[in-house]
Symmetry: D3
């Protein structure tokens, strides 16, 4: 098992030195979901325009959230992300919304934290917009599904 790279030999937290890592194309994808009551699900996925665009607002919050990653995660490197997309898909079996985010960069370290932060911020925003109707929603299943580019090679969730 690898070491915990975010701590030095004495156990002190630090931002890992990536100065000598290659500038390469990197991509990461993360996923997650928001589970809700059946009637909440029906309300936000029905075609009635007057219910408002929960999915559109949450998607945008996820994209902006990716850009805030180095502000939120103490030891994350700031990175010039070159692409962010966030998809929300209604899943009647959950019932709820499934979220997937893809982030790319051309840089010296990976973007899986950006993808996870996009998913997480998107899910929180769904909760915020729907909470007046349903306080019992649950956010879960947040994990990295793909990471590629850079020295450690390709990772795909099993």
């Amino acid at each position: 098992m690898s070491e915990l790279t975010h701590f030095d030999a004495s156990g002190a937290a630090h931002m890992v030195d990536v100065s000598d890592k290659a500038v390469t194309s990197r991509v990461a994808t993360a996923a997650g979901w928001v589970k809700m009551a059946q009637e909440t699900f029906d309300m936000i996925t029905s075609g009635e325009a007057k219910k408002g665009d929960v999915i559109g607002v949450a998607r945008l919050a996820g994209i902006m959230g990716a850009k805030k990653t180095p502000d939120l995660i103490p030891l994350c490197h700031p990175l010039p992300v070159t692409k962010v997309s966030v998809d929300l898909t209604p899943d009647p079996d959950l019932p709820g919304l499934r979220i997937e985010a893809t982030v790319k960069t051309t840089g010296q370290t990976g973007v899986e934290m950006e993808a996870l932060t996009a998913v997480s911020t998107c899910a929180l925003t769904v909760y915020d917009m729907v909470k007046a109707a349903d306080k019992g929603m649950e956010i879960g299943g947040i994990h990295v599904t793909l990471k590629d580019g850079g020295k450690s090679g390709r990772y795909e969730a099993g």
Copy 2:
């Protein structure tokens, strides 16, 4: 079922008008967890000082995350939070870390989004610090456990 308050009659998103709500003491608690491989769990919860203080760093990130809530969640009101605490507890049965956050304010609207954001940021930070050892971790179980103060009364997760 209540309406989706974050949209006006035409379906346009807006920040809800809370100008006429009372300034009262409000509290919210949220919970969640990070599930990891057994050997990852052993590594971060063992007493060996050299592994670094994952829990201490993640707790602090959660506290600071609560303060960033109105930056992250588009329609959230900015609020002067008066208390934030974040607890991480190792759970060998998960295995992983259970997270609980409590936020208070004296204001015109509730702080459940702040508590959820604290939990979420804390969990992402655990992932960041441990990801070199374990990319397969999962974040889940994020939900509001308690909300009190304000007109809508006390809510406790069942």
Copy 3:
């Protein structure tokens, strides 16, 4: 004519002391527009879903922009805004989009800067989303249309 309150007697900039001003309900409205080529206007206001929701994204950016006002405007007081709404209306005579923002607070100073910042951020976001099609767009007409609450009384643009 009033003095320039943002400077002290020696001409040094400062954040005005509002400690002794009353906490009252305050509201401000501002307006502005983005003028564009006729075919650009047709494209973003036509019903074709595939063109994307320019208005929805720009509205959300305006709401979030209002919350960033004290970060952007050096001598602005931070204020807990209690309501923000932003409306975009297609105007075929411009041709372009007319923007109006309303902000409320319960505080010690007015929110006209928040309303102006919402309009301005919303207009910039329209430009950003449409610029691949039309670089010649112009943003203008940004002014305060209403300010009320507080000692200086009600102001309405003539």
Copy 4:
């Protein structure tokens, strides 16, 4: 006419993928103005030191505003800007202040949004500092005057 690049084929907003664009020197210039009452204009452009340095404060706010562009504009890429300058010129015929901002980067996408945001933030700051004397000021004429570098070539306002 070009497509709206900020939306995918289904109309969902995304941050455009610039991963494969060349890293080149890019520059953009934008302009705008703040129109005010004659006596307001006289006050802020007169040599009396005690009136305070409206132009100096607004210039600095514009420069800092350029750096906040990816925070404000939802689908903007974060970019390491390599130069920002903002000029304010009194124009007695307006009467008011004319603003021009120039931004450079060495990156994968253009900086016209940074230049427009600098002009806009500068204009809002002028309004803020002078509003105690003149609430009727208007901000307008905000447009891109020059954009160069990158694949789409040189653009100059007609």
Copy 5:
């Protein structure tokens, strides 16, 4: 000697609960200095306009820095500051600039961290603007000179 209030009984960091503290008028003043070479001092304090307004830029940075305090200091409460002023005074005996900042709020906790952050940000900005001429400058003497309002009473540096 008082306890370290920022840690709970188990030693975990938290944001102190100030929910039950009174909302009162609070003020704090802090001071500090930047020491520099004699010729650097002469250059930035001479009347030659072409040298640029180091003091004006640094003052504004200090004021804006006060507003960023809860972003920078992990366990600081966000507070609606109601006044910030920063004064820079050339001191030929240092030689260098003496800085003093005053911050007020009407809130539930003190503003000494805001005053210290204003001084510190102002001093860093002086360093930034002058560093091309003098890398050996030193920032020091940063301390609280006055704190008043709230339960703990008036504090003045001896």
Copy 6:
């Protein structure tokens, strides 16, 4: 003596154009200290776990502070820092804590402001956590100890 590069020929502040500077590996180190009463020093450096991890929290605040440098210092360029470390060492002779920060980047301009901001934010955080016990602490000795990489060559404090 060099010119003040942050001002143009007319004395107006601007962000220096670094577009034509080489992208090279750059490093900077800065130092400083927080001086406190003897009993305060004993309390935070004693082994009693219940006193809380002042040093761990302050170290993290320093690392995060480095990332906020372009937000705080008006004319600083945004830079993708590639490493940040902050060390705190108890010094019984002060008595107090000595702070040292090292920052690296691969970019077009130096990182001494990032190193200084890390030290400064770390010191302010120590003050915040200990202020309930000791309001008379002083922050000082903040200076650049090393700067290397880039055209101007290596600088070391004498």
